[in-house]
């Protein structure tokens, strides 16, 4: 399964002095749904446009199906793009928009008619062929853009925030449709989004980018549960982050650390003594008890409890002012606001992230961590 269809090797992109994609290394597998996720301006669109051929990388290599593409114009690449603004041709009917790619490839008229019908029915737009883009709703335009791209049987479909302009409800519905379409077609989707929920629910793998750097690439579960950088831990979902240094390793293999807020414990001893690390604990793994727990000295006061459906989100303010989020299942006993609590967790639930300051060590450690994750799974 894991055969690469797009390979990005050591790619950099500068706009003038502005370094927008930095040493990007990424493999995109055949038939996968890969999301590129990151905050605004982190280089997602630029990366996509380099694959499509609208931008030329400053250096590095991009291959599609094993072939280097730097000297290929967009019209020579076997990839198609669904643009964020849809870019439908306003002077052509839906039918002519969808038929455009085939017409350019000089496919016979009779065949075009049939394939346009198929493509339109695939996006559930039968009977819309005679309309003009201006006569369609946003969601319908979106579908035309998708039909126009997939009719060319691309090996890779690039989608740049294709649902960005749609309202919440339509977005959810289109997410499901897109995912089904991808499974049905069996082609690779590279899907740019800055909506993490969207990325987590739709993707086989997620590439998280920040400031032009690929922070982490992995399955949604890996990204969520084993973030390898502070950015990913912070960006994906909610988390409680502590900056800490190792104190000592206990006999049971757990590590005792010192943070500004107090003493805490984790389970991953793979870092050098005195190295600065980040420790990330998800709110649902964070516990608040009435009495102190060994290995922890995080005392705080409950500020508030918010009921959100089936969970209760509590905020506990530690003595140094840090706010800790604790979520518990509704129905379980909830600490009263204003009461004192001791924060702790199961040491195995804390993810230890190596700080970026020590890059070479960081790299070695993250390799180790990969092996560790694989071994543990």
């Amino acid at each position: 399964m894991a055969k690469a269809i797009v390979e990005i090797k050591n790619v950099n992109k500068f706009y003038g002095d502005n370094h927008v994609v930095k040493d990007l290394d990424m493999e995109i597998y055949e038939g996968e749904f890969l999301s590129i996720l990151g905050p605004s301006g982190c280089g997602k669109t630029t990366t996509l446009r380099m694959i499509a051929g609208f931008e030329q990388q400053t250096d590095g290599v991009i291959t599609v199906e094993g072939e280097r593409v730097e000297n290929k114009e967009p019209f020579e690449r076997n990839v198609n793009t669904v643009f964020q603004s849809y870019a439908l041709f306003p002077h052509m009917t839906v039918h002519d928009n969808v038929a455009y790619g085939l017409k350019m490839k000089k496919v016979k008229k009779a065949e075009i008619a049939g394939r346009v019908e198929d493509a339109l029915s695939m996006v559930r737009l039968e009977g819309f062929g005679k309309r003009y883009p201006a006569q369609l709703s946003g969601g319908q335009r979106q579908r035309v853009a998708i039909a126009r791209a997939i009719i060319n049987n691309p090996r890779v479909l690039l989608l740049d925030e294709p649902l960005g302009a749609l309202d919440m409800k339509l977005r959810k519905q289109m997410q499901i449709e897109l995912k089904n379409l991808q499974k049905q077609l069996g082609i690779t989707f590279v899907y740019v989004t800055h909506d993490q929920e969207e990325a987590l629910t739709m993707s086989d793998r997620i590439a998280v980018m920040s400031g032009g750097v690929l922070e982490q690439i992995g399955t949604p579960a890996e990204i969520y549960e084993k973030p390898t950088t502070k950015f990913v831990a912070d960006f994906i979902g909610e988390t409680n982050l502590f900056e800490a240094v190792e104190a000592h390793v206990r006999d049971d293999g757990t590590v005792c650390l010192n943070a500004e807020a107090g003493e805490l414990t984790g389970a991953d001893p793979r870092f050098s003594a005195a190295e600065l690390v980040y420790l990330s604990v998800r709110p649902e793994k964070t516990l608040a008890s009435e009495s102190p727990v060994t290995g922890f000295s995080l005392r705080g006061t409950v500020r508030e409890n918010i009921y959100i459906g089936t969970v209760v989100k509590s905020t506990v303010v530690l003595q140094n002012g840090q706010e800790i989020r604790v979520s518990s299942i509704a129905g379980a006993p909830v600490p009263a606001a204003g009461s004192a609590r001791y924060i702790h967790w199961n040491p195995g639930d804390a993810v230890i992230i190596h700080s970026k300051s020590n890059t070479i060590l960081d790299l070695m450690d993250s390799l180790d961590l990969g092996a560790y994750v694989a071994g543990g799974a």
């Binding site: 499509a52 051929g53 609208f54 114009e73 967009p74 019209f75 198609n80 793009t81 643009f83 603004s85 870019a87 439908l88 041709f89 306003p90 002077h91 455009y100 790619g101 350019m104 490839k105 126009r148 791209a149 060319n152």
Partner: protein, 290 residues
Amino acid sequence: MQDRHTFRKKTVPLITMISPVTAWLILLIALPLLYILVISFCGTDDAHNIVFHFTLKNYAKLFDPTILSIYSNSLVIALLTTVICILVAYPFAYIMASTTPFRKTLMMIFLMLPFWTNSIIRLYSWRTLLGTNGYVNLLLLKIGLIQQPIEMLFTRGAVVLGMVYTLLPFMVLPLHTVIDKLDGGLHEASSDLGAKPVKTFLHITLPLTAPGIFAGSIMVFIPCLGYFFVSNLMGGGTSQLIGNVISRQFKEAFNWPYGAALAIMLILITLLLVRIYTKTGGKIDDLGVM
């Protein structure tokens, strides 16, 4: 209820606002036009005075073969001018729309600069360039390309050149407006779908900028029929346009009724062209004149 509301809200202020303009239009345009229309049905006495009795003889004279050939000559020159203007203005407008703001301003200034001098004076400078003793001939003689000076002035080509030179900005401006509005994403989409640049131009750029070509053509073609001074200066007596005949009736032959009939005919042709333009989807606003 609704009607009265919109009447008070929209129509009443509109009338008060428009009335001075309307008065202006009636005084300076409608009344003279009406006068022209009336005298086109009149005759003249021996002293060239207008005699007010109804006749169609001025219109009958329009179908005189010499007049018809002048009409066709005018149309040919206007057509040539329009085509050349499109070919020159399109790349110019395209570059202007895609270059840096600074260069765009520069191009705009060069385009508009000649308008700050009288067009007759500018056409005279062409005469110094193109005349038998003009600089172009002198240069060609000097480098030995020709032995005899070429007759460049006083040809149909010179008239077309003068027209193109005078009217080019009217083609560039509407073209620039539509090209500037083009969504670059459409070109990328076209390329993404496998179209080479030429195909993208033919299937996307050209149809989407057609309204500009159309508007520019109207703006060039119509004045071309009437710019008699260009034909006078650049064509000498060789190339007669409708405008020349009309101006001669008023200034030399003193047959105002006949001149009026010729003018009415020209107005009808113009209206017909504008009608075709709006019928095929062109917008009066795009012409930038009203």
